[in-house]
C-alpha cells in the first residue's frame, strides 16, 4: 500500500480507490501536545489543498489540508476521546479520516517517504 506525503506534513495511504489521511510524526512533534481534533463529517467533500480538519495543540490551532480531492467515508472517532493518539501514534492509530479518491492523477506530485524525509531535513 503506497504512502505519500505533502509539503503541509500530511500523509496519505492509498489502497485502490480509497485512502487514509493523517499528519506526520514531524508535524506532531512541531505542534506539541495535541488537545483537540476536529474531523470532517462523513459524506462531506474535501478538495486537494483545502481545509479538511483542525488540530489544536497547547500552542496553537492548525488546519489540516486534504492531500487529494474526494468524499470522506470514515473519521477516526478515537481521536475525539483521546487526541493524544496523534502524538503517540501519528502515522498509524492516530489517522484522521478515510476518503474515496476522485482523481488518482492528483497523487502525482506528492512525495514518497525518502523525498519527504529530505524535505523535513531541509526545514
Amino acid at each position: 500500500m503506497p504512502r505519500y506525503f505533502t509539503d503541509e506534513h500530511e500523509w496519505i495511504d492509498v489502497d485502490g480507490d480509497t485512502a487514509t489521511v493523517g499528519i506526520t510524526d514531524y508535524a506532531q512533534s512541531q505542534l506539541g501536545d495535541i488537545v483537540f481534533v476536529e474531523l470532517p463529517q462523513v459524506g462531506s467533500a474535501v478538495a486537494k489543498g483545502k481545509d479538511a480538519a483542525v488540530v489544536e495543540s497547547v500552542k496553537a490551532a492548525s488546519d489540516v489540508y486534504a492531500p487529494i480531492t474526494g468524499e470522506v467515508t470514515e473519521a477516526n472517532g478515537a481521536l475525539e476521546d483521546d487526541p493524544a493518539l496523534v502524538n503517540s501514534s501519528p502515522e498509524d492509530g492516530g489517522w484522521f479520516f478515510k476518503l474515496t479518491i476522485s482523481d488518482k492523477s492528483e497523487l502525482e506530485g506528492l512525495m514518497d517517504a525518502a523525498a519527504y524525509k529530505s524535505f523535513c531535513d531541509s526545514l
Partner: protein
C-alpha cells in the same frame, strides 16, 4: 476558616520528580500566603451580611422559585477581604512591573484617567437616564469620536463595540451592508497568514469564506500574490468582499505597500479592513484613512491606556471611511445644527438622517444595547487631552524606539527572523533558533517567571518557529528595559547552553510548572469536593451544612 485547603495543595508541593527544597507545615512561604479555594474556606452558615427574614408577601417567581439550597460558601467580611487580597498578591499586573505581551500594548494606565472616570457626573450615570440629564456624558462621547476620526483620517466612527473582536465584527458587518446595498454578493475575505486569530474568526462569523494571503520572505504581505487573487477583471469579476490587514503587522513590521494594497483592493470593488490592534506604533504619525483603509477598530484598552486584561472592560470603536460610514450601527452621537449633541436611536434615525445627512444613513443595526463603554470613553479622552497631539506623536515614537532597543540589544543571543527587514515597529519578534536540543520557547518563558517578569507572547505569530513577541510600550524607562533585557539575556543564554533546569522552571513561583496539556484535555471547570474528586461525577459545587468539606 473551618477546613483550610482540604485538597492538600501547597506552594511547596514539589512537582513529581523535582526537588523544591525545604517546605513549611502551613504551606505558606514566609509572607507569601497559600490560599485555598473559596469553597474550601467558606461554610453555608457564615455570612457577612445579616438580613432579616422576609415578612409576609408572596413570591411571584412561580415555577422558577428555587427549590434546593445552592450551597454557596459564606464568609465574614474580613475573611472575604483577606481571601481576595491574598489572591491579588499572587497576581502579576502592569502596576507591579513590565508586561511585555506582544500585540497587547500593556502600557501604564495613568491615574489621572481614573480620577476623571470617578467624577460623579461620569461615574454615576445610567444608560436609561433621560437624555437631558446626561448631556455632559454625550459631549464626552462625541469629543472622543472627533479625536478618533481626526487621528485616523476617517469619516465616521461607531463608538458602541465593546472590544477589538467586537469592533472587527462591526466593521465587517458595515462592509457587508455596503455590498448588499449595491446588490453585490461577494463570498470571500482575504486574511494574511500572520493575522490575529480573531480576523478569520470574524470573517467566518459574518458568513464569509476565509482565504490566506501569503507573506514575502521579509514578513510583509505579498502584493503580487494579492493582486493575482483579486484578478485583473475589476469589480464585476471579483468575489472578494474585503481584505483584513494588520498594520503594523504581527511580525512587528510596517506594511510599506499599504497604499498600493488598498488601491488594488478598491479597484476590484472590495474594501480594506485594518486591524487596529497595533495602532500604538503609528498614532499621530500615520493616518490609516490616508492609506486607503475603509474600516479599523481602535482598542482603547491598548493605544489609549484604559485598563486591560482582567481589569477591563475593553472598548473597540470602529472608524469608517466615507463609503462605509452610512452603515454604522445605532445608537450614535452627533452634534446637529442646534449646537447640541444628540443620541440617535432607531425611532429618530430616519428623520435625523434626512435632516442632517441627506438621507444617506442606513444603519445595519446595533452592536450593543447602549452607548458603549462609558467608563473607557472618559479614560481614553483624558489620556488624549492630557497628551495632546504632540504627546500622542511622541507615544508612537517612544514605543517604536523601545521595541527597537529590545530587538537590537538581544539580537546576538536571540534569533530575529525579520531583523534584516529594517527597524521594527512597536514589537520585537524572536524565534527559538539556536536553542539547545530539547529546550523550547515555553521553557524560556517559564525561566523568565523565575526572574520576576511576566513572559512575552509565545508561539504567535504562527509563521515564526517558537515565536517570542515582545512589546515593551513607551511607558517603560530605559532603566526598566535594561533590567528586562538583562533577565531575558540570561535566560536565553541558558537556553542556548542547554541548561536542563529550565525544563522544570519556574522554580520559585507559588506554583511550579503546571500541566497545560492535562488542563486542556481534561479540564475541571467546577469545584469538586473530596468525594467528587474520588469518582463522583462533577457538577454544581455542593457544600455540606457543616461547611467546607
Amino acid at each position: 476558616m473551618s477546613a483550610p485547603n482540604a485538597s492538600g495543595w501547597k506552594p511547596g508541593t514539589p512537582v513529581a520528580g523535582t526537588d523544591s527544597g525545604p517546605s513549611t507545615s502551613t504551606g505558606n512561604r514566609a509572607l507569601m500566603l497559600e490560599e485555598p479555594l473559596i469553597f474550601e474556606i467558606g461554610t453555608t452558615r457564615t455570612t457577612g451580611v445579616d438580613l432579616p427574614d422576609p415578612i409576609g408577601g408572596e413570591t411571584r417567581l412561580g415555577g422558577f422559585a428555587r427549590k434546593n439550597a445552592i450551597g454557596l460558601p459564606g464568609l465574614s467580611e474580613p475573611e472575604a477581604v483577606r481571601h481576595y487580597t491574598r489572591l491579588s498578591r499572587q497576581n502579576y499586573a502592569i502596576d507591579l512591573g513590565l508586561f511585555p505581551l506582544g500585540s497587547c500594548t500593556m502600557k501604564h494606565n495613568p491615574r489621572l484617567n481614573e480620577k476623571v472616570a470617578r467624577m460623579p457626573g461620569f461615574a454615576d450615570v445610567h444608560p436609561l437616564q433621560p437624555v437631558d440629564t446626561v448631556r455632559g456624558a454625550l459631549e464626552v462621547i462625541n469629543e472622543l469620536a472627533f479625536w478618533l476620526i481626526e487621528l485616523t483620517g476617517m469619516h465616521g466612527v461607531a463608538m458602541t463595540p465593546k472590544a477589538g473582536a467586537h469592533g472587527e465584527l462591526c466593521g465587517i458587518l458595515c462592509i457587508r451592508a455596503a455590498l448588499e446595498a449595491r446588490g453585490d454578493a461577494r463570498e470571500v475575505i482575504l486574511v494574511p497568514e500572520s493575522a490575529h486569530g480573531t480576523n478569520p474568526a470574524t470573517a467566518a462569523f459574518a458568513g464569509y469564506r476565509v482565504e490566506d494571503i501569503p507573506a514575502t520572505a521579509e514578513g510583509r504581505v505579498d502584493l503580487g500574490a494579492l493582486k493575482a487573487r483579486l484578478g485583473a477583471g475589476g469589480p464585476d469579476s471579483c468575489d472578494v468582499a474585503a481584505v483584513m490587514i494588520t498594520n503594523p503587522n504581527t511580525c512587528g513590521l510596517f506594511e510599506r505597500d499599504m497604499k498600493a494594497i488598498s488601491d488594488a483592493v478598491h479597484a476590484a470593488g472590495a474594501f480594506v479592513y485594518c486591524d487596529g490592534a497595533n495602532f500604538n506604533a503609528i498614532v499621530g504619525k500615520v493616518r490609516p484613512g490616508d492609506l486607503g483603509v475603509d474600516a479599523m477598530h481602535i482598542n482603547l484598552h491598548k493605544t489609549f491606556s484604559t485598563p486591560h486584561g482582567g481589569g477591563g472592560p475593553g472598548s473597540g470603536p470602529v472608524v469608517l471611511s466615507e463609503a462605509l460610514a452610512p452603515y454604522g450601527p445605532l445608537p450614535y452621537t452627533a452634534r446637529t445644527s442646534d449646537g447640541v449633541v444628540h443620541l440617535v436611536e432607531e425611532e429618530d434615525a430616519e428623520a435625523f438622517s434626512a435632516e442632517h445627512f441627506g438621507g444617506r444613513m442606513a444603519s445595519f443595526g446595533r452592536m450593543s444595547a447602549f452607548h458603549g463603554q462609558m467608563g473607557m470613553f472618559t479614560r481614553a479622552l483624558t489620556y488624549i487631552l492630557s497628551h495632546g497631539a504632540d504627546g500622542l506623536k511622541q507615544v508612537a515614537e517612544d514605543a517604536v524606539l523601545n521595541a527597537n532597543y529590545v530587538l537590537r540589544t538581544l539580537e546576538d543571543v536571540l534569533d530575529a527572523p525579520f531583523g534584516a527587514s529594517g527597524p521594527c515597529m512597536h514589537e520585537a519578534l524572536f524565534s527559538d533558533k539556536g536553542f539547545a536540543q530539547g529546550l523550547s520557547t515555553l521553557d524560556l518563558a517559564k525561566g523568565l517567571i523565575d526572574e520576576g517578569f511576566h513572559p512575552m507572547t509565545m508561539y504567535f505569530p504562527l509563521v515564526v518557529h517558537g515565536a517570542m513577541l515582545v512589546e515593551p510600550t513607551e511607558t517603560e524607562s530605559k532603566a526598566g528595559l535594561d533590567q528586562f533585557i538583562a533577565a531575558l539575556r540570561s535566560v536565553a543564554e541558558r537556553a542556548r547552553a542547554g541548561d536542563e533546569s529550565l525544563k522544570t522552571a519556574p522554580h520559585f513561583a507559588p506554583r511550579r510548572r503546571l500541566d497545560e496539556t492535562l488542563a486542556a484535555r481534561k479540564p475541571i471547570l467546577a469545584f469538586q469536593d473530596a468525594g467528587q474528586a474520588a469518582g463522583v461525577p462533577p457538577g454544581t459545587p455542593q457544600l455540606s451544612e457543616q461547611g467546607g468539606s
